[in-house]
């Protein structure tokens, strides 16, 4: 079974430029998460989707960050414009979701963003 797929794996952009990350969760997983991981720290939740609905986006900086999961499968996280402090690894995770027997989150490899 394929795991969570993310692309690109690495991205280098200049500040003030836009950037987008893509995630394909494990097939059948209804819940999708985007996390931010700074160097040497644990992941921090940005947004959680149940199917196509964003059920928790309280930690998403909405002035520059946006996300979508239009068909309840793939998701895109966008930053516009990027700032130097956005340099980090952006992780996507998925789980079976509410009502299932397992809440285990499966993580993708992440996208390492460097803003110069």
């Amino acid at each position: 079974e394929a795991g969570v797929v993310q692309s690109p794996r690495y991205k280098i952009i200049e500040k003030k430029q836009p950037v987008a990350f893509w995630c394909n969760p494990i097939s059948g997983h209804n819940t999708l998460y985007w996390y931010l991981q700074n160097l040497g720290q644990g992941p921090e939740l940005l947004i959680r989707y149940e199917n196509e609905e964003a059920v928790d986006d309280s930690q998403l900086p909405k002035d520059r960050f946006s996300a979508e999961r239009l068909k309840g499968v793939d998701s895109t996280l966008k930053i516009q414009p990027a700032e130097l402090g956005d340099s980090a690894v952006y992780l996507c995770a998925s789980s079976q979701g509410q009502g299932s027997l397992s809440y285990e989150q499966y993580f993708g490899p992440g996208t390492r963003l460097t803003v110069t």
Binding site: G40, Q41, D56, P109
Partner: protein
């Protein structure tokens, strides 16, 4: 490989020895705890979990101990192998099924051959 912040707690263990990684969690209301392993260039990988109505749970070569009195969690890895070298994170959840994890500061474990 991917570098990690110099301030990350580190633990070095001889191959074959047992290792213990500790974690102090923050929320006394947390009901569910998970240990994750993160290798260089990869996302976190689930190792073992425990609910607050237990104080010990064992898996294959791993044991998690929970002390709710002092809000402390530990991960014991028996007979460590080179493949155990990674950063280990504990995560807490307000309630099983809530799905909102709060991760702690990781510990870098290095296995010395």
């Amino acid at each position: 490989g991917e570098s990690v912040g110099l301030h990350l707690p580190t633990l070095s263990v001889q191959e074959g020895d047992n290792s213990i990684i500790n974690c102090a969690y923050s929320n006394s209301a947390s009901d569910y705890f998970i240990w994750y392993k993160q290798e260089s260039g990869k996302g976190p990988q689930f190792i073992i979990d425990i609910r607050s109505n237990m104080d010990k749970r064992q898996g294959q070569r791993v044991t998690v101990l929970l002390n709710k009195t002092v809000k402390h969690l530990s991960l014991q890895i028996a007979a460590t192998q080179p493949g155990d070298s990674a950063v280990y994170f504990c995560a807490e959840n307000i309630a099983f099924g809530n799905e909102k994890l709060t991760f702690g500061t990781g510990t870098r474990l290095t296995i010395i051959p």
